[in-house]
Amino acid sequence: MSECHEVAAPVVSVAVGTPLIALAGQPNMGKSTLFNLLTGLNQHVGNWTGKTVERRQGTFRHNGREYCLVDLPGTYSLTANSPEEVVAREFIVRERPQVVVAVVSAAHLERSLYLVAELLSLSAPVVVALNMMDVAVQEGITVQPEVLAAALGVPVVAMTASKAVGVRELLDVVEGVLQGRVVSSPRAPEIRADHREILRQIETLTAAFVPAPYPPDWVALKLFEGDAEVTRMMEAALPEEKRAALQALLREHDDAFLVVASGRYEWIGRMVRAAVTQPKIGQIGLTERLDRWAAHPIWGLFILAGMLGLVFWVTFTLAAPVQDWMDERLIAPFAEWVGGLLAGAPAWLQGMVVDGAIGGVGSVLTFLPILVVFFAAFALLEDVGYMARAAYVMDNLMHLMGLHGKSFLPLFLGFGCNVPAIMGTRVIDSWPARLLTILIAPLVPCTARMVVVAFIAPIFFGANALWVSWGLVLMTLVMLVLSGMLLNQVLFKGQRSAFIMEMPLYHIPNARTIGLLVWQRSMSFVKKAGTAILAMSLLVWVLSYLPDGDLNTSFLARFGQLIEPLGRWMGFDWRLTVALITSFPAKENAIATLGVLFGNAPEAGLSEALAASFSTASALSFLVVTMLFIPCMATVAVIRQETNSWRWAFFSVALFLGLSVAGGMVTYHLATWMGLG
């Protein structure tokens, strides 16, 4: 009796002369399944000597003969990038298994074949186990094993290890190779013709010094490729002058890694083209057809603008009536009912609960239909796979306009919330560029601001609300692009970066996924209404009540009247000005504050009260100012954190204050001039 393998610690005992078979493959290609299937209980798990890499080996019988099977660690290649890769190739070179079974996935042949390319370069006797045929069939991929075998020049056996299909055939082929019945003539990848001479020179230089049992041609290839372990080994083995000559040769070709790996990928490309058919029907064909429009540099933009408009249209058509109904039939009667309950209570308590809490939080809660529809529309676009196209065409546009990809990508995150956009600027290496990107990030209209717009626009603009909202979003985007272009001209000149996307296939949306997204987002909004917005509403109410219970002489009114002159430039009275200021902790507070301040309007919901109190010009100006106003508290905090300076946080506040006031003034006066006053 002898041990299955010499390098190992305690192992399964087998007879002398038992054929040694190695299982090689990348992780998740079904190698372990095949190993367990073959060896069953006759297996041993330990560690490779001196390594923390798990070593599994065992025995199995086929046609009355015993075989020793070693499960090599799962590796992507045989280059010394990891201990697993070193273990796998050392085993093949030193222990010389009679057959190496390379387990590849028929569904992921592109990924699996790199290791096969390396095995063939190592002159190992390879049999390819073309596993996961069932998955390939499911995905509509047809692989022809016999064509692949002809292209590779080694035997290929189609199988599905998880269902024990094709295992016997695999073992028959392994047996055939051992008995010399099955002959291979492997076609290993070659490197490009213009680099073959240098490879030959390396081999000539080193061949006589390569320690046994390493094959000299393989060592030359690995040296050329820049393999760290082989380089170390040969530097120790070569005499001084040869070492210097080798180093000089390698220095001249520092692109050799790309050359060698390219040779392998070209080879993989040829193998896949020969043996794999991916029918372009169904999902893939549909995706290609739709993307001719949706991902087109020009039509894609029109479609994107159309989609944005559609989201607003659906929101206004479906949600606005529900919101009106909630406002008039739910919140108002509820406030009345609570008022009745509190009839005997002190006036301040009635006011605080009815006007403060219900007026503020209630108004914000009537947002909920708007939010649900808005979130559902976006979740639908996301789930269908459209959002990736939206990003693609936007980025294309930004790039055409000269905006640097590195600053656009973080900005794109800002559509959800400006906070991650600012955090995302960490990808920008240059500090001035990063700082400027941080400063323009709040120009990206976040969902909170879009929701405020979606609430106010229909009150004043009725059927035209869609165009107004759409115009507002486009306005901020144009400002963003202009600032981005400036940024690029000044700071990113000459720098290039690329943005690679993998577009998902379009697919039928899943109601559950969308429902879950809408539920989570709506709940987190409700939570915010119950905490931050409630607190702000109560504070606003308290300030509007004290000292004598009269709104017009309250502390809030006094403060509002103090800053009213500034508001008047933009067509605001003190109440709109105060609403704007309270939007600093959270944008939705603007609505809550208006709810508190207009909550005691008799017999009408907030919408009617607002529509009756302000001109169209004031409303338009208020919307423009809301879009451009000081970033919310969380954003300012993150600006402070990322710039590590209060100075820049204050600068951002001042910048957007200036920008919004200027925008509001221009809008108000322009609108008044156009007769909307």
Partner: protein, 78 residues
């Protein structure tokens, strides 16, 4: 092949895996495998968005999962 892919990436801009695969005459899956390899070899860097702990206070933080969809978006630099 890898050189050609890198030179496409170095020319900058927005690149899409399907378009790249047509240019190189290989399957999109092979383009993804090569991109992974170039990343592993240090030629490219993945883009990782920084959303997460920073969004703690934002009630709309889950929005990032649609706008940010970072698993789809990768920024690579040659």
């Amino acid at each position: 092949m890898l050189e050609q892919l890198l030179s496409e990436i170095r020319s900058g801009g927005t690149l899409e895996v399907n378009a790249l695969s047509k240019k190189l005459g290989v399957s999109p899956q092979l383009v993804v495998v090569m991109l992974d390899h170039l990343q592993q070899a240090g030629y490219l860097q993945p883009y990782a968005a920084a959303c997460g702990e920073a969004c703690g206070g934002c009630s709309l933080r889950r929005e990032c999962s649609h706008a940010g969809r970072v698993d789809l978006l990768k920024l690579w630099q040659g």
